[in-house]
């Protein structure tokens, strides 16, 4: 067989498929609509934005400050839920601005007021609970957001919580969670403040399932990657990279924690090894990964059907 023969054979495929391919036009954000509609929408958006900004509701710039500016940031931003709920404990006001999850990792943007000194991660404790699923674990870390307005003094500091849940079986998308934040002042050992938020997480996040040659299942989202088997067991995520379709390599970070067994919602133990809590240092398009590099070895990824 030659490429010419293959090209000729493709030429006589089904008419329906040929017509369908050309008729299809993916919806884009650049639709042509009447100018009057555009003008009305713009006016409404400007008005809403003005109100929201003045009240501190729109704080999505934290995403770009965490991950950098890229085309793919929209994948994440588009799913962020604006919360803007405040709770007061011991005179300290904590505001949950917005939150987003990819199903296993939660990013939550906060502002905290009336704290003296900088925010220290060790002073905080976080817990995510689900009303229907008890005994669930995870870990959180804080990243201060350099914001000239909110961080100009210590009265109102912005920070992002990155909370990673253990295990891939629990998909947080669309779940209502209870986010509990505890704080103790200056290493006293006792939590002096406690804030509780109940929020419904976003329903949707881009996600692609792949399989490696050895059968390892891989789930990729714009911000994290999880592997379902042991070929990566015990390896440090610091040595991981992912290879994109354009040949570029992107570093990974995270604890590469694993889980031996998992208790499902019915209390049954599911034996499996998983490596999760591995995150990208930037937002990526999960469709464009072609391989994972770990400890100098390349593992090709084949997308599942």
């Amino acid at each position: 067989m030659t490429t010419d023969e293959l090209l000729d054979a493709i030429g006589i495929i089904d008419d329906e498929a040929i017509r369908d391919a050309k008729e299809y036009q993916r919806p884009t954000s650049h639709r042509i609509v009447k100018w009057s509609v555009i003008a009305a929408c713009l006016a409404l958006c400007v008005a809403l934005f003005g109100v929201a900004y003045s009240q501190g509701l729109i704080t999505l710039d934290w995403i770009e400050k965490l991950f950098g500016v890229s085309e793919q940031v929209e994948l994440l931003e588009g799913q962020v839920i604006s919360i803007d709920e405040s709770a007061v404990s011991n005179g300290i006001n904590l505001t949950l601005n917005s939150i987003v999850t990819d199903g296993s990792i939660i990013y939550a943007d906060f502002n905290i007021s009336q704290l003296e000194g900088e925010i220290l991660e060790k002073d905080f404790n976080f817990h995510v609970g689900l009303p229907t699923f008890k005994g669930y674990g995870g870990s959180g870390s804080l990243t201060p957001i350099a914001n000239s307005e909110s961080n100009s003094d210590n009265d109102n500091q912005e920070f992002v919580l990155r909370y990673t849940v253990s295990g891939m079986n629990l998909n947080l998308l669309g779940k209502t969670i209870t986010l509990i934040v505890n704080y103790h002042d200056g290493g006293s050992g006792e939590f002096t403040s406690k804030w509780i938020f109940e929020v419904k997480l976003n329903n949707v996040m881009e996600s692609v399932s792949y399989t490696m040659q050895d059968g390892t299942g891989v789930i990729v989202t714009p911000i994290s990657i999880a592997l379902e088997q042991w070929s990566f067991f015990g390896k440090s995520a610091d040595n991981y990279k992912v290879e994109m379709a354009d040949g570029s390599l992107i570093n990974l970070t995270g604890s590469s924690s694993y889980e031996e067994g998992h208790i499902d919602e019915n209390g049954n133990k599911i034996p499996r090894y998983k490596v999760n809590n591995i995150m990208f240092v930037e937002v990526i398009d999960p469709h464009e990964i072609v391989a994972i590099w770990a400890m100098g070895t390349r593992y090709e990824l084949v997308p599942d059907q």
């Binding site: 490429t3 293959l6 054979a9 030429g11 498929a17 391919a21 993916r26 379709a245 469709h287």
Partner: protein, 200 residues
């Protein structure tokens, strides 16, 4: 940069009426065909030949081909019936013109890409009937997800340029290339599995 707008014709006479004109041996059949599908056929020809005059010639040959084929044929989808004639004529013209130098048009790039799907010549029989091969490819494309199938056909049937596909599907170039790369790998695997290539 502008890319050819290879949209199916949507103005003019109903397809069934045009076909009736062919059956009635009315020369209006060609006029109506040109009105409705002239741009569509020209875009296919131009993708292959990259030359307006050559593309015009291919489109005129297409009308003649349709005149000679209908009757006895009564095409189910007139657009793709004409498109197939245009594509075949244009590829033949491209091969004739480039028998010794192989340059110009999108064909060379597409042929290079399709080489990914051809197993080693030591392991395969060289001649497979085009129709049989097409049946295998038809079965293959039916296994593809909708988007992959459409992108594959845009590239390898219409010979659309990558930027044109990006525009139609609102994808990045790397995403389109990656998708095509994977589809070609799947096609090669499918051809081997279905015995479309044979050991010597």
């Amino acid at each position: 940069m502008k890319y050819l707008n290879l949209k199916l014709g949507c103005e003019g006479m109903e397809d069934s009426s045009i076909v009736e004109l062919y059956w009635a041996r009315s020369e209006n059949a060609i006029t109506e065909t040109a009105l409705k599908y002239g741009k569509y056929c020209h875009a296919i020809a131009f993708n292959i030949l990259s030359n307006k005059e050559d593309a015009d010639e291919s489109v005129n040959d297409t009308y003649l081909g349709a005149w000679n084929c209908i009757p006895p044929h009564s095409p189910y989808i007139l657009s793709t019936f004409l498109g197939k004639i245009t594509r075949r004529i244009s590829l033949k013209k491209w091969r004739d013109k480039n028998a010794d130098k192989r340059g110009g048009g999108e064909v060379l790039f597409v042929l290079d890409e399709l080489a990914d799907c051809i197993p080693s010549s030591n392991d395969v029989e060289r001649e497979v009937q085009t129709v049989e091969l097409s049946k295998v490819i038809n079965a293959f494309i039916k296994t593809l997800p909708d988007t992959e199938r459409r992108v594959f056909i845009c590239r390898y049937w219409y010979l659309d340029k990558i930027p044109a596909i990006c525009k139609q599907f609102d994808f990045s170039p790397s995403k389109v290339k990656s998708m095509l790369h994977r589809t070609r790998e799947k096609l090669m695997s499918h051809l081997e599995k279905e015995g479309a290539v044979y050991d010597d």
